[in-house]
Symmetry: C2
Subunit: 366 residues, 2 copies
Amino acid sequence: MRKHIFNAGPSVLPVEVLKEASEAVVDLNKSGQSILEISHRGNTFESVVAEAKSLVKELLGLGDDYEVLFLQGGASLQFCMMPMNFLKETETAAYVDTGTWSSKAIKEAKLFGKVEVIGSSKAQNFNHIPKGFAIPKTAKYFHITTNNTIYGTQFQIYPDSPVLYFADMSSDFLSKEIPASKFDLIYAGAQKNVGPAGVTLVILKKELLKKIDKTLPSMLDYRVFAENDSLYNTPCVFGIYVCLLTLRWLKRKGGLKAIGKINDEKAARLYAMFDKHPLYVGHSEKEDRSKMNVVFMLSKPDLENAFVEACSKAGIVGIKGHRSVGGFRASIYNALPMESVEVLCGVMEEFAFRYDGAAVGSGSRQ
Amino acid sequence: MRKHIFNAGPSVLPVEVLKEASEAVVDLNKSGQSILEISHRGNTFESVVAEAKSLVKELLGLGDDYEVLFLQGGASLQFCMMPMNFLKETETAAYVDTGTWSSKAIKEAKLFGKVEVIGSSKAQNFNHIPKGFAIPKTAKYFHITTNNTIYGTQFQIYPDSPVLYFADMSSDFLSKEIPASKFDLIYAGAQKNVGPAGVTLVILKKELLKKIDKTLPSMLDYRVFAENDSLYNTPCVFGIYVCLLTLRWLKRKGGLKAIGKINDEKAARLYAMFDKHPLYVGHSEKEDRSKMNVVFMLSKPDLENAFVEACSKAGIVGIKGHRSVGGFRASIYNALPMESVEVLCGVMEEFAFRYDGAAVGSGSRQ
């Protein structure tokens, strides 16, 4: 009955998390109240926030010099909140443009200061991660989008930054080991690897808070969230609770090293299809391929509907590509089991044999 | 096992809504996907948003000249978003200060323009709704908080406004029939009468959108939410879904007229305790008493702990008052059954007999 969920986000969550969340919606730990009904000011929920914060730091290997905040509004609100807090009219921020989401981040930052786009792959429809760019030492901060959901590209190595280092990690957050302490501020919508839509995580160096010297609306001021332990006003209680359940699951799985290995295997299994069958043509350049979103076209585009149908018959959902690229996108976040990848690869094999007639392709398509 | 939930918000939701939401967390309508896993771009969720919008308008008796938006960030984000969209530096907005939440709304508005507080009950610790104030015809807009959760006061009659009329209805939204078309913009956090924390409803006249002439960050611009049917970015999918379930429940109950009658009865039953037992002293002046939050002290404050204990033994939670007022607060939102009110009244009766010895009090305490 359960589908193979390749949605781009919101997307698949661990079955055991769903089961526990479902029970909590009727009765939270036999408290006689639903997780939807408890006060955000009580001990129960304060413990949820504290444990979730602590697990995020533990998983990322970060110490007490970092603060973890739970906000609302998605990464899209961070696109403006970040420059609103840190960029002044006369100052310049350096951005790398790797697709739709970084383009939106750039657009919002321009409302608050100057933006220098120091690298862009726009001319190639964002099929690679720009390299060899120079980060100006005079920039207020440097910003990257670590994984590009729509185009299926991902920074495999994070360039060094001589200035404050900010990153939108929405779509590969907590999917592998990273040198987290390299960053001054990381933000991520929860709805890919961490939980349901409605929660945004912001992880920032505590000393960064001291650099904010503007008068800001309370709900757009990182200091207010930090001073109030993310409880200045009522947060997305259920969302944060499900994040906690997912973080616990991730720790039980062995943390970032273990999940990174599994994610590598899932991605390798799928990308191998491109080498084997010329019918499948990847969008991203090989070295920048995302381990989270596998984006591909059919070399015979008139077979697209038949491919969607074959997937659908196998219980696969969410495989259609974003309109900016077309084709297909298999999002293979943390909670997607290898079994689902095997089912998709099975469909791809069978489909290639049936419609393309090619048993073995002519090597990589990139 | 289930508690009597008098929380101030998040608070009690209908049992049948919790049950349906719980099932959807494991499997949404036998789709093989959780409500937490579906795309916000698919037909399923677009129907959820469309039906929820339509039900809000139907319940409030509003026509196509109004837009219903689903946002994040709570009423607290609206405190700044509203003036950010509608108030300029040289313009003045008229606010009535009826407690903590309107004070916060005033504070945020001052960041964007001038604020004239035309009525305030601050000197009396917000124990009544100011009356007889004049709304300047030159004001850009007039703002009230219709129900004051912390102080247990509520506008029983909405004064006429010669200018744009904005209202924070967070804690009495959809709790009774109101002349909704009197207002140009209504906003409300969902977590009192409509759903779980994490969803904010904004209902505004479509022509109001044309009055916005500033360049604003996308996520803080009402026009962006209206143009994208609240789906500019990923919204709080689960929260909106539970709002829909609660709105359907409210319609089945008979809508605002029917729920208003039940809420009147629940409030009357509780306030009658004040007249009967001098031990219970209401905070609000009688004519301004809230039908949503019944706030009271004990005339013998040293009995407070014993009262909390008596409530706790009867399965009552969330009865402790807010620190700004002290004493007790019984929040009796739409989903709180009369049965729970009866249990609380039973405790109050028994407690008064045991500790106060007074069978009948000396009339109203106000």
